[in-house]
């Protein structure tokens, strides 16, 4: 541990109300910490700049999965293990369950939370493309009240979000209208487990009379933010999946992303692999091969 615990303050208020009050009192001063799977990594490396931490771990208000008629509301404090163990999530949101199973090891999955993954806003986070594909909405709370925002444009730039400095994510809402869709997701990491993605794809699709009726394609690790490939989706809409369309979809997908060279991979590799996986998704959609 390269940090000195004496330099840090940690408070653990009893309920959500007290937490949002504290955030409102000194906006931008208190860093919420849930499972700590991101924050403690920075702490161990001596790189955690926030000195005041407020624990939101295991708050009942944040740790529940509510199944409503048209949507499932996942508390931001739910862990990956919670997601993997929930029957409805398992049945209706396989993209999210796969992502949860890919995140870290068992210990990380017992501590890491979905809300934390969203707020940490890493473009390489595995669950975020799944949330994009399911067109998630977020319920944000503060002392000022609550608001519901689409997740699609929640991330504004690298590690930046629309969350105000006095706000917390309370719920991640997933519409239940995709349960009949064909699901495809693939993580390309440097190893089979415990790896940060080089490329991550989560996609949903539906055919009608051999033609694409509706698709959602989201990618991670290939832009400053997790990305929906809206242009690629538009191009394939209403078309039959044939070799010429695959080539076109590859080309458009590659044009939509902004990958970089970094310690984990190269721009060129990431571009080509995104194209390959978009094509693989469409081929499997055509063949209706189970992909998860």
């Amino acid at each position: 541990m390269r940090s000195d615990p004496a330099d840090y303050e940690l408070v653990a208020p009893a309920n959500l109300q007290e937490i949002v009050a504290l955030l409102a009192e000194e906006p931008g001063t208190w860093l919420p910490i849930a499972g700590g799977t991101d924050v403690m990594v920075q702490y161990a490396a001596g790189k955690l700049s926030a000195r005041k931490l407020v624990s939101i771990w295991n708050l009942p208000e944040l740790r529940h999965i509510e199944v409503l008629a048209d949507e499932v509301r996942i508390g931001a404090g739910c862990t990956y293990t919670d997601l993997r163990e929930n029957e409805t999530v398992g049945r209706e949101f396989p993209l999210l369950v796969s992502a949860a199973s890919w995140t870290g090891g068992i210990a990380n999955q017992n501590r890491g939370t979905l809300g934390g993954n969203v707020v940490n806003a890493s473009p390489a986070a595995d669950s975020l493309p799944a949330l994009l594909a399911y067109e998630a909405e977020l319920i944000l709370v503060s002392i000022r009240g609550e608001r519901r925002v689409p997740y699609l444009d929640f991330h504004t730039d690298y590690k930046k979000t629309k969350l105000a400095s006095d706000e917390l994510i309370r719920d991640i809402c997933l519409s239940r209208r995709f349960s009949e869709y064909f699901s495809y997701t693939r993580k390309v990491g440097a190893r089979q487990a415990q790896a940060i993605s080089k490329v991550c794809v989560a996609a949903l699709g539906r055919l009608d009379g051999g033609k694409v009726k509706d698709v959602r394609i989201a990618v991670g690790s290939v832009a400053p933010v997790p990305l929906r490939l809206l242009e690629t989706e538009r191009i394939v809409q209403g078309k039959a999946i044939e070799p010429s369309l695959l080539l076109l979809a590859k080309k458009i997908a590659v044009a939509e992303i902004r990958p970089i060279d970094d310690i984990r991979s190269t721009m060129r590799y990431r571009s080509t692999v995104v194209g390959n996986l978009v094509a693989e998704f469409l081929e499997k959609l055509r063949a209706n091969e189970p992909a998860i």
Partner: protein, 757 residues
């Protein structure tokens, strides 16, 4: 011969119970009264003169003990082979992460901040980062010509073979650095008092290396330095030489402060600052007949040694001697050199130069096969060493090894031929391609050449007052099974129960110098000595009349008790003596390089996914001849673990260097494989015995590191029909190579590097 009652049986590990119950004491479990914590201030530049050191503000510096080079009581160097590596940089630094200052403080949390506030100004000097830059000599960073060591091996008349050749096949092969990644990071505690001198406890492989280094550094006589090994959580060679540095640092802080000092590296410091496997480059030029017989060849083997000599000469030596693989070379010239670069010194790592040069050899055999138009199997068959023939150093193969038979068994176990045929058919379709590859290799056990003679190792076996028997050696346990197997050997030799034999903690205050725990020598060399010392006990007891020739374990215990009661402490020693018929010429690098070789054929099966360009290993058959398996579970564990490490070396583990500094010094970005990446590893043994080893054992610790890389890369080539000659081979490398090949369309095997005559 053995009963398979103890030797040959998988008895419980001596230290196993303590490890699984958490009672085992590792260095960070140990605390001494009044203890300080130490930290190291390191260089941030690859090469430069230290102009100024500024201690930052906001730190209560009067609470810190600060040590610099001028505090060193003895000579400022870490003694090993050449005394060129300072313990603390004095005026000049030669690599990033080089230790410059040491700090100690009662609160371990106070240290990282204090280290961070110290700023060091340098006058930068031009630095060298690759073998090529080093051999250009544009910048001389070490000695006269940046060269730590060279070897020349010559056999026959190499200059005469080229005109007789039907083909001359050339190739260049490269291997990268690799981090040992033991589970337990490095750590040491040192104490000092004028009466007893320096004592260090730590995580380490070679107590007497540290003992020697501390004598010189602290200017103390042998009896004023004591080194004690704590339970050690893995080493793989990574705790062979660098612990001498850490022990030195802890000792210097203890001497200056008069208090015990503990230094524990975290993972980032351990990965960035300590040794790694030597990167290498091997060039082959081979004369071959139409029939695929090797007439002779030139091999140029170069390793990147980093900034100081450390163990590079010996790593280079092993790589040189293994460069010809398990093949017969009527004529050969091997030129080898270890070059200096401004990176932290590279060091010992399981295999010790052999995985590097054997990767080249086994890739080159594939190329020769392609040029000649033979299968990878046939080319090996036609060139295998036969009993009576000589190796590249003209060591005669005296044992009845039949490599063709070994190869055939490996092919059968892996279902090689059927798979090969099926893959080449199936690969015509689809985006995933399968391949299968073979590697044949050998690994010499024990120190090279005159090494064992020079070491002149000593072991003791003691008959104790309670009737039990105790082994005293400096050979260390770090997960591989030293304690267990040495006790098995003694119990078997004396006809006792396994539980009747214990082993002393490796403490230089108590145990004799049985040499370092390296080079796959412990079971074979030290085991044989322990066996002979144990026989000494039996002989004394029987000749003194305390014991009948035939006895039960209970009678033996009674005899020991009586003998110790009558005569006091009763120890039997054995010292290594080189067999008289073993000849080695250090000048010409010729003769009996190793007392024994273990032999192996590995077969790897892979799938390459052309959507992601990633390789997965689906099956690995590991067949080896190891003399005699003394402990089946531990032996299998050595092979499986070595192969896992070898798979990491081949496909995953890449050290990302920038100006001589490791950029990915965390386990999240230095990628070692997990169990999810490993295939079923199928381990098979042949046992031919070995007169030099205890109960016929040969060394096996390093052997499994040699085979995975070439067999896997040969399999990747089989899958893609594209050549890869460097490891680690990452998906990005495969992608780039395929992108280039599909542009140039020069066919699967362009003529580059091949001349037909």
């Amino acid at each position: 011969m053995t009963s398979n009652r103890i030797v040959g049986a998988s008895v419980p590990r001596k230290e196993g119970r303590d490890k699984v119950t958490g009672r085992a004491q590792y260095i960070d479990d140990m605390t001494l009264p009044n203890m300080l914590y130490g930290a190291t201030v390191r260089s941030r530049v690859p090469r430069g003169k230290i102009k100024k050191i500024t201690f930052g503000s906001g730190i209560a510096w009067n609470e810190f003990v600060i040590v610099s080079a001028k505090d060193i009581p003895g000579k400022n160097c870490i003694v090993l082979i050449v005394d060129d590596q300072p313990c603390l940089a004095d005026g000049i630094v030669n690599h990033p992460e080089e230790p410059i200052l040491l700090l100690a403080h009662p609160d371990r949390h106070a240290l990282p901040k204090a280290v961070d506030t110290i700023s060091i100004e340098y006058e930068p000097l031009p630095a060298v980062f690759t073998i090529e830059e080093s051999e250009e000599h544009r910048e001389i960073i070490w000695g006269k010509d940046n060269t730590f060591k060279t070897y020349l091996v010559e056999k026959g008349d190499i200059d005469g073979v080229w005109e007789k050749a039907d083909y001359i096949v050339e190739g260049e092969y490269r291997t990268g650095a690799q981090e040992q990644l033991y589970i337990e990071n490095n750590g040491m505690i040192a104490t000092y008092d004028p009466e007893r001198g320096v004592t260090v406890w730590g995580s380490l492989q070679c107590p007497y290396y540290i003992h020697k280094a501390l004598m010189t550094l602290c200017n103390l006589p042998a009896d004023k330095v004591r080194v004690v090994q704590m339970e050690t959580g893995g080493a793989f060679g990574g705790k062979e030489e660098y612990p001498s540095m850490i022990a030195g640092h802890a000792a210097l802080l203890a001497i200056k402060s008069g208090r015990p000092v503990k230094i524990i590296y975290d993972r980032m410091e351990d990965m960035a600052a300590t040794t790694k496997r030597h990167p290498s480059r091997t060039r082959h030029r081979t004369a071959v007949t139409k029939g695929g017989k090797i007439l002779g060849g030139e091999i140029e083997f170069a390793v990147d040694g980093g900034a100081y000599t450390t163990l590079s000469p010996v790593v280079l030596s092993r790589g040189t001697i293994h460069a010809g693989g398990p093949y017969y070379w009527p004529n050969v010239r091997i030129r080898a050199k270890a070059m200096a670069t401004n990176a932290p010194p590279h060091g010992a790592f399981r295999g010790f130069g052999a995985p590097q040069s054997l990767f080249a050899m086994e890739r080159h055999m594939e190329r020769i096969a392609q040029v000649v138009g033979l299968s990878p199997i046939e080319i090996r068959r036609r060139n295998f060493l036969q009993p009576g023939q000589t190796t590249t150093t003209e060591q005669t193969i005296r044992e009845a090894i039949d490599l063709e038979k070994l190869l055939d068994r490996a092919l059968e176990l892996s279902n090689y031929h059927a798979k090969k045929q099926r893959f080449s058919k199936d690969n015509r379709m689809g985006t995933s391609k399968k391949g299968i590859g073979v590697a044949a290799f050998l690994h010499g056990a024990g120190f090279t050449g005159s090494g064992e003679r020079n070491l002149s190792s000593v072991v003791d076996v003691e008959a104790c007052a309670d009737g039990s028997v105790r082994v005293l050696v400096s050979s260390t346990e770090f997960g591989q099974g030293t304690k267990t197997v040495l006790c098995q050997i003694v119990a078997e030799t004396l006809g006792l129960e396994y539980d009747d034999v214990t082993i002393a903690q490796a403490d230089t205050g108590e145990v004799p110098n049985s040499g370092p725990t390296v080079a796959s020598r412990t079971v074979m060399v030290v085991g044989k000595l322990v066996q002979s010392a144990a026989l000494g006990i039996k002989q004394t007891l029987t000749t003194s009349g305390a014991l009948e020739r035939s006895y039960s374990p209970a009678e033996f215990r009674t005899a020991c008790q009586n003998y110790v009661a009558a005569h006091g402490t009763f120890r039997s020693s054995a010292r290594f003596e080189a067999p008289s018929d073993v000849f080695w010429d250090d000048e010409k690098y010729r003769g009996e390089a190793y007392a024994a070789f273990a032999w192996a054929v590995y077969v790897a099966e892979v799938t390459v996914d052309l959507s992601t360009y990633s390789v997965s290993v689906n099956d690995l058959v590991a067949l080896q001849e190891v003399g005699k398996v003394l402990h089946p579970v531990l032996a299998r564990g050595q092979i499986v673990g070595g192969i896992a490490q070898g798979i990491g070396y081949t496909l995953y583990e890449k050290v990302i260097w920038q100006n001589g500094r490791m950029q990915n010094s965390q386990m999240t970005n230095y990628i070692m494989p997990t169990s999810a990446d490993l295939p079923p590893i199928r381990v098979f043994f042949e046992e031919m015995g070995n007169i030099h080893g205890a109960f016929g054992a040969k060394g096996i610790g390093e052997l499994p590191m040699d085979g995975p890389a070439p067999s896997i890369i040969n399999a990747v080539e089989d899958a893609l029909q594209v050549r890869f000659d460097a490891i680690p081979l990452l998906p990005e490398d495969i992608f780039e190579k395929l992108a280039t090949e599909s542009i140039s369309k020069s066919g699967p095997h362009s003529a580059g590097g091949v001349q037909s005559q």
